[in-house]
Symmetry: C2
DNA sequence: CTTTAGCACTCTTGCCTCTCAAGTGCTAAA
DNA sequence: TTTAGCACTTGAGAGGCAAGAGTGCTAAAG
């Protein structure tokens, strides 16, 4: 009962045929597909063996065989020929990947949408920081007597701003005092350090504008919270309906609802494990979540730099074209890593990217 | 052949029963539901009359009747009792509506998600400006020798920023010159006015930092374009699957794909017509888009202020609980109008809102 | 003129049965 | 070890049948 070369060939043919057609495949069909010089009876024997070994399943007697999760696993690990993206494919992706605005959240969201569009599966995308985010700098800009803008920049080079309208008048010196105070007392501290004590001493130091400071600090806290909260973006759930395993509306709806929950998902893929930008495949029961036990997840991680990492992936039936999907995902992940400038340059910004600046860094601009 | 009081009562009962059960309703059932003191035969006669008048349809002989689009129309216009939201309902919505960050785009997106969640229908939300957006002010903040932040504020009080990294060093005086130049030459102008000529003269005036200016201006142009481009946010397409009219996967998928296209939609609802914050109902064939001919759209518009308006709505089968949906939508639209401070105060901002500031203006804070 | 009771008619739905085709497992021979 | 042959299993699909729901029509009653 061993995995001979012919059996591997048969298994691979079954997986690939089933991926393509979604229909159980019989012994006769295999003979032709895999260019095997043997009769269907021989193949039947091998198929029976493969089933005994756990690589194949029978939906019912007298239907053909379909791959089991274990069968998909060995296919992904050993039998699968890695797909090379065609020029057209990469060109298409690059075209869409050209993003004007590069605010972290929007880029991730957009990347997820693209992945979904190019794979025809629902996608998810998220980013997560390893370190605590802090604010490194504040600037207050006076607009008129009762409004000003606060600009805050984090250690991850994200810049946020907010316009304040006040009921009472303020003066330039007041703002400057406030600005100095913020930059001395409220920089380099993670969210937890924004204690009541700190606020109290700051309030005293602020003198006449003690009311203002709490406004600005609460903005700062929002910025920190927003930056740390890694939200999961999902897109393209509708693509599920294109696959025959989701003919059943109930089933499709359940999975879609699970994906829409958008908590949970973030815990599912601990970004531990291989730090490299490899792809990972989770087949059916390999998933922890009960809701995903009969679906597969393919994901790739990418490097954002500034102590942050991201994950992007797709969800679908176990019958997935793993070869193509992994190729597309890893291409997308690589491009995201490049887009964010790897860990070196900190290009991450909260608004537009200049067109044509820094030619040596902006490689992805040229691929367009 | 006229619409007697009893017939109206029957029609209303049919619509409401059908909305609830999604099943054709027969003459006997109506008798009980509508408290009519007459036999099923009488009702049958009236139903036949209502069908002849075009208010009802028969899926096939010997099934009950269902409302036609025309039937829904008269129901919405004349027969429907307007739904009052319960305290629990409003409380629930208010709870979720409490938004920390109030960047226009995010608020709209979030509002759409809430609407979908509270109505169980797919939702869409968009904002659109009446006037051209211009930038009223620039601020350049120096970070170090080769990076600075540009902050730009539009006439709609939206503030955007961007961090620039440069290959070469800059000095404070250079930045100040640039800043002044931007504020004199590139403010108050809509996107089209950013001509090559303008750039050329600005470049000359910029002297040594002529390279920088094009970077910043291209950022400004992105901001303007971004602000003018009214994107449609859709959410909760999966809810379609909860309704029996979308048992058919094909049908559901078609509509979902249409919604995901997210162009088209914006043109469908010309924000002309009633400017008030009323709700509108488009029933089946009343929709212009071919894809929506057998679905209904309910929408409400709200006022963003600063010359901008927004629309929020849901899409679903013609069998919709119009009473509840319109109530929920108009409540949401009202709250959005309030949130944005109506046309009076220009609270619209690109980041956090102070908690507890300006008590007289921030009414919605107290409803929480 | 309007309402009601009665009845024949229509049409869908669910269920049962039957047949067909596909594919298997097993056995015996090459 | 491979192959040919054959009996067996099973799901999918077609057809038929009965039940149930609802209608339209007619004739009588208010």
């Amino acid at each position: 009962m061993e995995l001979t070369a012919r059996r591997r060939k048969i298994l691979r043919a079954i997986v690939e045929y089933y991926i393509e057609t979604a229909e159980p495949v019989g012994s006769k069909a295999i003979g032709k597909l895999a260019n095997l010089d043997c009769s269907s009876a021989t193949i039947r024997n091998d198929m029976a063996a493969l089933e005994k070994m756990g690589y194949l399943e029978q939906p019912h007697t007298s239907a053909g065989r379909i791959p089991s999760p274990k069968g998909y696993r060995i296919y992904v690990n050993e039998l699968m020929e890695h797909h090379k993206l065609s020029i057209q494919e990469t060109e298409k992706m690059n075209e869409s990947l050209h993003l004007k605005m590069r605010e972290l959240d929007r880029v991730i969201d957009q990347a997820g949408k693209l992945v979904s569009q190019f794979t025809n599966y629902p996608s998810f995308a998220l980013a997560e920081g390893k370190e605590r985010v802090t604010i490194v700098r504040y600037d207050l800009l006076m607009i008129d007597q009762n409004s000003f803008i606060c600009v805050a920049m984090t250690n991850t080079n994200v810049v946020k701003n907010k316009l304040f309208h006040l009921p009472s008048d303020i003066t330039e010196p007041q703002l400057q005092l406030l600005n100095a105070l913020l930059n001395t007392s409220f920089t380099g501290k993670p969210l937890e350090a924004f204690s009541a004590d700190l606020m109290e001493t700051a309030r005293k130091a602020a003198g006449s504008s003690y009311g203002l400071i709490s406004l600005v600090v609460s903005f700062a806290m929002d910025v920190l919270q927003d930056a740390e909260h890694s939200s999961v973006h999902t897109a393209g759930a509708r693509h599920l309906l294109e696959h025959p395993e989701y003919r059943d509306v109930e089933k499709a709806h359940k999975l879609m609802s699970y994906l829409a929950k958008d908590d949970g998902l973030s815990e599912l893929f601990p970004m531990t494990g291989q730090d490299g930008s490899g792809t990972r495949v989770l087949i059916g029961p390999e998933n922890v979540a009960e809701e995903l036990k009969d679906t597969s997840v393919v994901l790739a991680s990418y490097d954002i730099g500034e102590g942050m990492k991201g994950v992007i992936g797709v969800v679908g039936p176990t019958r997935m074209d793993y070869a193509k999907i992994t190729a597309k995902l890893s291409y997308m992940a690589d491009n995201l890593s490049k887009l964010f400038g790897g860990s070196s340059s900190g290009q991450l910004q909260s608004a537009a990217q200049p067109k044509g600046l820094n030619p040596p860094k902006d490689e992805e601009e040229e691929q367009k």
